[in-house]
């Protein structure tokens, strides 16, 4: 029987962890019970991007977008929607911007301003079915390159497209390919860097899980261009779903002779293997990555020689990031001029951002370069929840910096972000509001880099550790003004003298918060208060007049510091209080404050 309906559900890691696999099983069961199974196709796709609303289910042909679906809702969806044609109103997604119910997928403002190139198939096709990828012009670019273009022309197209590396550096991809192609070594390698390590960035995972074939196709194109016959995908073992789907995709591509010997009868051979990493951040650095593939400890080495000259096992190697590769087939399908026309003059195409932190629409989005930060955060991201005030946005993860309100109208591209003292990085974007302490944020990122430093060079191993010590001291309330100067000069020293990108960028979060939020640091060391009310030693919790006397905070306090009777304002005994914040989390009416303006009067009498 032919299908009259297709139900797509998100199978990305985000939705999988909120039971989308069980949802699929339940659909299967419910539809079978109702005798509808033959009429409906169930498709598990990659990430839709709107992770905040997960698990997400889309019903075609009417494009109904269901959010926060649970296993218990499936029976109702099947009976009401699939059988009787009445969409289940209460599950239909609401637009986070204006709270309106949205009839279908196409109406969501989250997608309206986006342009999806790298994520073109994510959430749209079944990543486990090569036919669906082929239906969306998959492997056509590879076929075109192999039968119609010479390797040099392939490189020339890439150079003309202006595509720059999406892993963070922003190096022109065409130029990189050209370097690797110039070597005469008969053995060369193509590596896909899928060691996505920035906390809060997950675009590469989304591509690998949602559209693995696009990466395989692009690697084969790259192999043809530079003269390589073997590719490796270096993926972290913490991405089990991505690894599984990649291996499945490689198997299917071999079956269809789209990988292997004599692809498209052109005489070109290319094959790909997946190599697993243990999840070390430093292995995202290309020389450390290659050392890890070779079986050594993942540590960077001096460059030059660059990988294009002497890479994996001493042979010329081209390393590109997942998102870069995901853009490659489109350049050959639509032409370099089409690609070049998108974005800004120096940064063409689009960029995927992983939006997180204090933002309404946590998730993945893809916008043309040149879109402003304000559009991304407020129009697509839906702004800050709970009526809080925007404070800063941190781009580029632990290597990036903070950008403040006054720079929000800057068009995003590689060069503009660097000019602002941050960087594109892999595209993580963490939004912070008035409740975030910037000293604490800087400490969080530095804590991460201290952990991840490989220890090979002294500035990174020792310097970042000492910087963290100073930050801890400031957060404890023992800091001095002198510490701020030491922190700054130490940061600049680590930046200038470290061996690889990890150390060279690790001080960025500290230096940029010191630059933009110096008054917060000063408040910590001179006034001994934390203006955002985060650092425990420098704040106090008080109950404001908003208190409704529900006793919830009392029950949640681990040390019994809160007293009061039902329906009357409670009180915190500051001598007993350990400043854990449990009461603040428990309060249903936001009556507990740690803001200095609220507690100062009480504490100082």
């Amino acid at each position: 029987m032919l299908e009259r309906m297709q139900i797509l559900m998100c199978g990305g890691t985000g939705c999988l962890s909120s039971h989308s696999k069980e949802i699929r099983t339940e659909f299967d069961k419910a539809l079978s019970e109702m005798g509808l199974r033959d009429e409906v196709q169930l498709v598990m796709t990659g990430c839709f991007g709107l992770c905040e609303k997960g698990p997400v289910v889309i019903v075609y042909p009417d494009e109904t977008f269901y959010s926060h679906v649970t296993v218990a809702d499936i029976h109702e969806i099947c009976e009401e929607h699939v059988l009787k044609g009445r969409p289940v109103e209460r599950l239909i997604v609401k637009d986070p911007v204006d709270k309106q119910k949205v009839k279908n997928f196409g109406e969501l403002k989250f997608y309206a301003k986006q342009k999806r190139i790298a994520l073109r198939n994510c959430g749209n096709i079944n990543p486990l079915d090569i036919n669906e990828y082929i239906a969306k012009d998959g492997y056509l670019a590879l076929g075109k390159c192999l039968t119609e273009l010479k390797p040099l022309e392939v490189i020339d197209w890439m150079k003309r497209s202006g595509l720059r590396g999406r892993g963070g550096g922003g190096f022109p991809t065409g130029q990189k390919w050209e370097f690797a192609s110039k070597s005469n070594d008969p053995v060369k390698y193509v590596i896909c860097n899928a060691d996505e390590g920035d906390p809060g960035a997950f675009m590469d995972r989304a591509v690998l899980e949602g559209d693995p074939h696009s990466v395989l196709e692009a690697m084969a194109i790259c192999g043809y261009a530079i003269g390589a016959h073997q590719g490796y995908i270096y993926c972290r073992a913490e991405y089990p779903v991505a690894v599984e789907r990649l291996n499945h995709a490689i198997g299917q591509a071999r079956e269809y002779s789209l990988l292997g010997k004599n692809i498209f009868n052109s005489g070109f051979d290319f094959d790909i293997e997946v190599r697993l990493g243990a999840g070390a951040f430093v292995c995202g650095e290309e020389t450390a990555l290659m050392a890890s593939i070779e079986g050594f400890r993942g540590m960077p080495r001096l460059k030059p020689p660059f990988p294009a000259v002497k890479g994996l096992w001493g042979h010329p190697t081209n390393v590109n990031n997942v998102e870069t590769f995901a853009n490659v087939p489109v350049v050959y399908l639509k032409g370099p001029d089409w690609f070049k026309a998108i974005g800004t003059a120096k940064s063409s195409g689009t960029k995927v951002f992983a939006l997180g932190g204090k933002i309404a629409n946590t998730g993945l989005l893809e916008v043309p370069m040149g879109t402003t930060l304000r559009e991304v955060i407020f129009d697509i991201g839906g702004g800050i929840p709970n009526k809080r005030k925007f404070k800063a946005v941190q781009t580029g993860g632990p290597s990036g910096g903070c950008i403040t309100e006054k720079s929000l109208d800057t068009p995003i591209d590689f060069d503009n972000l660097i000019a602002l003292g941050s960087m594109m990085g892999s595209g993580g974007m963490i939004v912070m509001d008035e409740d975030n302490c910037m000293v604490d944020v800087a400490r969080f990122y530095l804590d991460f880099t201290v952990d991840e430093s490989c220890g090979k060079c002294t500035p990174c191993r020792e310097g970042t550790r000492r910087m963290l010590d100073i930050l801890n001291k400031i957060c404890r309330g023992d800091g001095t003004l002198e510490d701020l100067d030491t922190l700054e000069s130490l940061g600049n020293m680590v930046k200038d003298t470290s061996l690889c990108g990890l150390g060279q960028t690790a001080p960025n979060p500290v230096l940029s918060t010191l630059k933009h939020f110096r008054e917060e640091y000063v408040a910590h060391v001179v006034d001994k208060i934390c203006p955002a009310g985060v650092c425990p030693n420098l704040t106090n919790f008080v109950i404001t007049d908003k208190c409704i006397g529900c006793t919830k905070c009392m029950k949640n306090c681990p040390v019994g510091a809160i007293s009061g009777t039902v329906k009357q304002k409670h009180k915190i005994d500051l001598d007993k209080c350990i400043r854990c914040g449990a009461c603040k989390k428990a309060c249903p009416v936001n009556a507990i404050s740690s803001k200095p303006e609220d507690w100062r009067a009480i504490v100082r009498g």
Binding site: L2, R4, L140, F264
Partner: protein, 122 residues
């Protein structure tokens, strides 16, 4: 797979199966699937539409289901909204009629007046 032609053939064939996800605009066929519609046999009618449209390789058509349209005595009811917005409501539709409606209305663009709700009621 050995040539670009093979690939394109497979692409067109696979795309047909996914057409539903990329349909924008076009003609809408809405089958009334309230309890009344289902009891009167709307489901086989709906499936017949899917089958026939696929057989005739008609593009730009969305087949969807709607709730009860209010004329329960005349179910199964099928409304066809053409691209220009004209609506034709067919009533008491049977599987045999689907064949005819597809060929006349959708292929030849000729409305089958005798099956319309407006003529049957009169």
């Amino acid at each position: 797979m050995k040539s670009l032609e093979d690939l394109k053939k497979l692409r067109d064939q696979s795309l047909k199966n996914m057409q539903m996800r990329y349909q924008v605009g076009g003609t809408r066929i809405q089958v009334g699937m309230g309890t009344c519609g289902i009891a009167a046999g709307a489901r086989p009618v709906l499936n017949k539409f899917v089958e026939e449209i696929n057989e005739h390789e008609l593009k730009n058509i969305v087949i969807t289901q709607v709730g009860c349209m209010g004329e329960c005595a005349f179910e199964p009811i099928v409304e066809i909204v053409d691209q220009d917005g004209t609506s034709s409501i067919y009533c008491k539709v049977t599987e045999r009629m689907v064949n005819e409606i597809v060929e006349e209305h959708l292929v030849n663009h000729k409305r089958l007046d005798r099956y319309l709700l407006s003529s049957v009621k009169r």
